[in-house]
Symmetry: C2
DNA sequence: CTAAATACGGAGAGTTCACTTCGCTTACAA
DNA sequence: TTGTAAGCGAAGTGAACTCTCCGTATTTAG
């Protein structure tokens, strides 16, 4: 692979991350413009628009997964769990919108994105288990519902750009439900 | 207004509710086809596609508002609060998607939809106050964060058609956070 | 029953977007 | 330095979609 080709690929991915982060319905032209390349170059690296969306989504999911794994391995998993939860809620607006665009546009998310999503879920599961072992999270909460709650809280905070203070109070309510009853 | 015109308008609204409920990116043609009218008729009643989306959204919001008001006025507001919360989460998939389509497509939601949304929020606020008065919901929870939580939970349950059992367990976690600490 | 105002629908104009073609340019090996 | 394979971008293609025009059909008042 030629050096300029690799450069352009990276520039396109970065531009796509930003453009689709703001509006997942943006045109491929917009991505090309921001990346400073021609449209054809975008399509040469990512044969369809879905491929491009998927690449962006996969990249984001993997980043989150690595963060979760690092936090789970560290000490004080309980605090780490809540930190990670808050962080995802704050940051994940774009990621979810892109996921929507994928599932609504394409038939289903592609192989790579699916694998990355499963990886994130598993890593989050590790973090949850650790947090439960230290008593920071109630033991009878299963991964499926906690994960659904994570996604939901993210979306709730996302839709309209909610006042940060309201978002924090909302997270407070969520955390009250996650902490052990006693 | 002629009788057939009124009929057609109603038929179009019903069809649009169904079509956009499944996919808010559906074309106006699809709505016309389902309603059994020509495309021009749809555009005569709703000059732009945004107008049509807005009419559908407004209608749904007003329906929810009325339900909330009825429940707030009845007895056992505590139980009613949780019932309403669950119901919105279960049903509101389409409504939220339409709202998204509006805000992403158009510049901002129109006057009618905005008013209807405010009405629903206020009605939900009444329900919340009643539930707090009877001790079913912790008193230090404000409307903004509870409403954000309602929207978030709806979205979490919506995205992928979640297993109903998982959804219920997720709601269980949310409710654990909403109930009084003591 | 009749007339005219009102409503209807299909064909088309104009736009946008994903994706392709092709002549030109650039990186890199010998 | 030079030949060539790989890469590039502008212009073009075709499909889909929103919205309009206009001749035809229907309702309804007198």
């Amino acid at each position: 692979m030629r050096a300029d080709a690799r450069d352009n690929r990276a520039r396109i991915l970065t531009a796509a991350d930003e453009v689709f982060g703001q509006s997942p319905h943006a045109s491929t032209d917009a991505v090309a413009k921001l990346a400073g390349v021609g449209i054809a170059t975008v399509f040469r690296h990512f044969p369809t628009k879905t491929d491009l969306l998927e690449a962006v989504l996969t990249q984001r999911l993997e980043r989150l997964r690595n963060q979760a794994l690092t936090l789970a391995a560290g000490e004080n998993a309980g605090r780490a769990f809540y930190t990670f939860f808050s962080q995802v809620v704050v940051e994940s607006s774009a990621k979810l919108a892109i996921g929507d665009a994928l599932t609504s546009a394409g038939i289903a998310a592609g192989e790579d994105a699916r694998k990355a999503a499963a990886g994130l879920r598993e890593a989050f599961g590790s973090l949850l288990s650790e947090a439960q072992r230290t008593g920071a999270v109630r033991g009878d909460a299963g991964l499926p519902e906690v994960y659904a709650l994570l996604i939901g809280a993210s979306r709730g905070a996302t839709t309209r750009n909610v006042d940060p203070e309201v978002r924090n109070r909302m997270l407070g309510l969520v955390y009250a439900g996650l902490r052990p009853a006693a």
